[in-house]
């Protein structure tokens, strides 16, 4: 793989003693603009998230789980689910972009396969064991694990590269304590100059982990959020991410997941609950970033591994479908609101929403336009077509 050099924050950022701009009044390294990926796990029902209320087919096919127009937060031809007031407000402010009919050819309906496909950015017939974010790390000069952070205990495929992996950390303090009881840093230190290639690989990984945990712990202490976040695991994770962003961490990509979207049964109450969790968390997150003048520097990508079938099933729910929706939020969107038209329910693909845009184009656009990286190297075997939301 070609190693391609691209813009990197200055040497100052690489030291463990990184001090953010508001503490040092000197010439600044280029502002770090991170991406925050929010994965909605389980297959988010796009059709009830953004309801095409003018389309009679919607109410015909969803007699009991369809949402009444009077409950919706209307924006043009679509209405946001009532639980999404935060997203609705962002839309109003011009800080939200919606891309409908997102999918890929020959989609897979299995959670595992579909999520692997999205995380590895592969075609549906390929099995790649690295993720697009991991491969992005591979391309960076002097990249470190903490350049991509997942707010979780274990690392997703998305952040695994050939040469480098991102860092999974739910709680910087706990990770730091876990590793630096002294024991693991001592062990890591003792491995220098190991001649056995597998052993040295493991020691190197351990050293990097200790180093990254150290960096993240120190950085996370610079800013502690005063924003009120809801008391959910998801919001806690967003808070951790926000604190790292505002503290000036050199992390390029953050990754958080929210599950509960697999609404096969009794969709109405379940979807309301999970969308509420999503919306309230995002609202607090956006507010926190805005208060600290960071919202323009952040791009948020929200996706799910597939959408759901248009017609409701016999359990007042919906089954796995094909195309879904992607949301982008942040203060620097070039194109805002609905980027393309809402699904036409008279033009379905065997009862499913038809895909128009391949999700890999979204990744490619972000890699190229947000990070100035080369998407063709990072997303293999695909003709990337850049979009213009940024």
């Amino acid at each position: 793989m070609n190693r391609r050099k691209f813009l990197q924050t200055s040497a100052l950022a690489s030291t463990a003693l990184f001090l953010p701009r508001f503490l040092k009044g000197q010439t600044l390294p280029e502002t770090n603009k991170p991406l925050v990926v929010i994965q909605l796990t389980g297959g988010n029902d796009a059709l009830n998230m953004l309801v095409p209320f003018r389309d009679d087919n919607y109410y015909r096919l969803r007699p009991t789980i369809g949402i009444n127009k009077s409950d919706l937060l209307v924006t043009g031809d679509a209405g946001f689910h009532p639980a999404l007031s935060g997203l609705y407000r962002l839309m109003d402010e011009g800080n939200l972009a919606i891309i409908n009919n997102i999918g890929y050819p020959e989609p897979d309906r299995s959670h595992f396969r579909a999520m692997d496909i999205w995380q590895s950015a592969s075609g549906s017939g390929s099995f790649i064991n690295t993720g697009w974010i991991g491969r992005f790390l591979d391309q960076m000069e002097n990249s470190k694990s903490h350049f991509a952070i997942e707010a979780d205990d274990t690392l997703s495929l998305a952040l695994k590269g050939d040469l480098r992996n991102g860092l999974a950390v739910k709680n910087p303090e706990r990770l730091f304590r876990n590793l630096s009881e002294g024991y693991f840093s001592d062990i890591a230190g003792s491995g220098k100059g190991h001649t056995h290639h597998q052993a040295s690989y493991l020691y190197k990984t351990l050293s990097e982990t200790v180093e990254s945990a150290d960096y993240i712990y120190k950085t996370s202490h610079i800013y502690k959020s005063g924003e009120k976040y809801p008391d959910t695991e998801f919001s806690k994770n967003l808070k951790t991410i926000s604190e790292l962003i505002i503290s000036g961490s050199e992390t390029k990509i953050y990754y958080a997941s929210l599950s509960g979207f697999d609404t096969h049964i009794q969709q109405k109450p379940r979807q309301e609950q999970v969308l509420k969790t999503l919306d309230e968390g995002l609202a607090a997150f956006a507010s926190d970033l805005k208060s600290n003048k960071k919202f323009e520097d952040v791009l948020i990508l929200i996706f799910s591994e597939f959408g759901r079938r248009v017609e409701q099933n016999a359990s007042n729910g919906t089954d796995h479908g094909k195309a879904g929706v992607v949301l982008l939020a942040g203060g620097s969107l070039k194109k805002k609101g609905m980027i393309n038209s809402i699904p036409d329910l008279s033009q379905l693909d065997d009862g499913d929403l038809k895909y128009q845009t391949d999700f890999r184009n979204i990744y490619a656009t972000i890699l190229k336009k947000w990070f100035h990286a080369n998407p063709d190297v990072i997303i293999p075997g695909f003709k990337n077509e850049l979009m213009n939301f940024i």
């Binding site: 959670h111 692997d116 690392l155 992996n165 876990n178 062990i187 597998q198 493991l202």
Partner: protein
């Protein structure tokens, strides 16, 4: 300093079994070790599931409450099957045979929600792990679990479903690029009619079979599924593909295409006789070369099984054992997809490495482990299968150190002896500075802290 035979014995068991059992550590004769590892007890199937026939109408005619109960029962049985198999691996003395069955599970990756089908599938792998490849392959792809997993039930003359034929060629025998799309289509036609009855027994349905002429990999004829297998095996590439997998799991994480080619030629020539191939590997000199010692990163099951065996671990709940597999990224009976587990360095990332380094202390010293596996978001999925995830911060596992103490306590210089038993690398000594800091206590306490320390080192991850 380890004797030459001792080196061979250690390596032999590290690869062809789940490490040298502590109880066999006095074994220093290669000849005896070979005999021991090739021991094949009379085959006794794993029998954990109780549900017999699986009626097609079962789910449809049930009430929601009954359906829930049935699924819960199935999930419980799959959990039991997983735990039963791991316990078997920890307790068996048909070392090579059972290790190979575990390997084949990764190769013929399959998941199915019917416990009976999975049980049958596991027993096929175990019974024929050392049989010639054709016998094993035929048995596996005719199993209900695999036929259902790869959608061959939907493969009919009028409406062929290519998934089964495609995965057979791409992932089980030839690898991508060694057949055409046309070959997939024609093979799919040949497999029409392959199905199974309610008890999970193979059934050939004439009505659904396409008896017409097919052209497959350059040959023409009115092929059925067995013919397809026969023709696939005629391709030398099949031997190369399988030997590449053997290499990765038994020799080294690093490929050597010349050596693999030689292995494949021998395998092909013998008629795909797996047990002959493994005998020749074990009896060779090259297998024991320094570059192959410790050249593999242990898979999660290879990490867990020796600890269970040597310390007679008793988990106070199945959930704990399932949760550990989940955190480490390998759950028996639940491969991530039909491509199986990638293995090697793919097991390692920042959090999995730290968890692995702590595993011995978590299991043997009740150390706190605050990590939680991911929620996969699938309402019907894995989390349901494993029951709830173990959420407390300390595993409740009972370990037995008596045998270990008897063995090592009282030795004038236990450190190199213990190190040789625990660490796969040869002529390796633990860092003295670390030892002086972290090996504490005398007598049995000292042995315990020494072993736990060694098992916390990256070297312990290698085999």
């Amino acid at each position: 300093m380890e004797g030459k035979d001792q080196v061979k014995v250690k390596h032999l068991f590290n690869r062809m079994a789940f490490g040298l059992p502590m109880e066999q550590s006095e074994l220093t004769s290669y000849g005896e070790a070979f005999k021991m590892i090739r021991l094949e007890k009379a085959f006794s199937p794993l029998k954990v599931t109780t549900a017999g026939k699986v009626l097609k109408t079962e789910l449809i005619n049930l009430s929601a409450e009954e359906r829930k109960k049935l699924l819960k029962g199935r999930h419980e049985e799959l959990r039991s099957l997983n735990v039963a198999w791991i316990n078997l691996l920890a307790g068996t003395d048909s070392y090579l045979k059972e290790k190979l069955a575990f390997f084949w599970h990764g190769h013929f990756a399959c998941r199915n929600g019917i416990p009976l089908y999975m049980e049958d599938y596991v027993n096929i792998l175990r019974r024929d792990s050392l049989s010639d490849f054709k016998t094993l392959l035929t048995g596996v792809i005719k199993s209900a679990a695999m036929l259902q997993f790869l959608n061959n039930q939907q493969n009919r003359k009028s409406h062929p479903n290519e998934n089964f034929a495609r995965e057979l060629m791409e992932l089980f025998t030839l690898g991508r690029g060694n057949y055409s799309e046309m070959d997939v289509k024609e093979a799919a036609r040949a497999f029409t009619g392959w199905g199974f009855n309610e008890s999970g027994e193979f059934e050939f349905r004439e009505r659904q079979h396409d008896f017409g002429e097919k052209i497959f990999l350059g040959e023409k004829g009115n092929f059925n599924g067995d013919d397809i297998i026969r023709i696939i095996l005629k391709q030398k590439q099949c031997a190369v593909f399988i030997c590449t997998k053997f290499w990765k799991s038994f020799i080294s994480d690093e490929m050597d295409s010349e050596a693999i080619k030689r292995m494949a030629e021998a395998y092909y020539k013998s008629g795909y006789k797996t047990d002959e191939l493994f005998n020749s590997i074990m009896n060779s000199d090259w297998f024991y070369e320094v570059k192959y010692i410790g050249a593999r990163i242990k898979s999660p099951i290879e990490l867990i099984v020796p600890l269970m065996r040597d310390f007679h671990l008793e988990f106070t709940s199945d959930t704990q054992l399932l949760t550990i597999q989940r955190i480490l990224g390998q759950i028996l009976l639940f491969p991530p997809n039909v491509a199986g587990w990638s293995g090697g360095r793919n097991w390692i990332d920042s959090s999995s490495l730290v968890y692995r380094l702590k595993l011995a202390r978590i299991l043997l010293a009740n150390e706190a482990d605050l990590i939680q596996p991911k929620d996969d978001g699938d309402v019907n999925g894995f989390a349901k299968m494993t029951g709830s995830v173990f959420k407390q911060d300390r595993m409740k596992v009972i370990s037995d150190w008596k045998y270990i103490y008897n063995k090592f306590d009282g030795l004038p210089d236990p450190i190199p002896v213990v190190a040789s038993h625990v660490i796969a690398l040869n002529n390796w000594a633990p860092d003295a500075e670390l030892l002086s800091k972290y090996k504490v206590g005398q007598g049995t306490e000292g042995i315990k802290s020494l072993i736990l320390h060694l098992m916390s080192l990256p070297e312990y991850q290698l085999c």
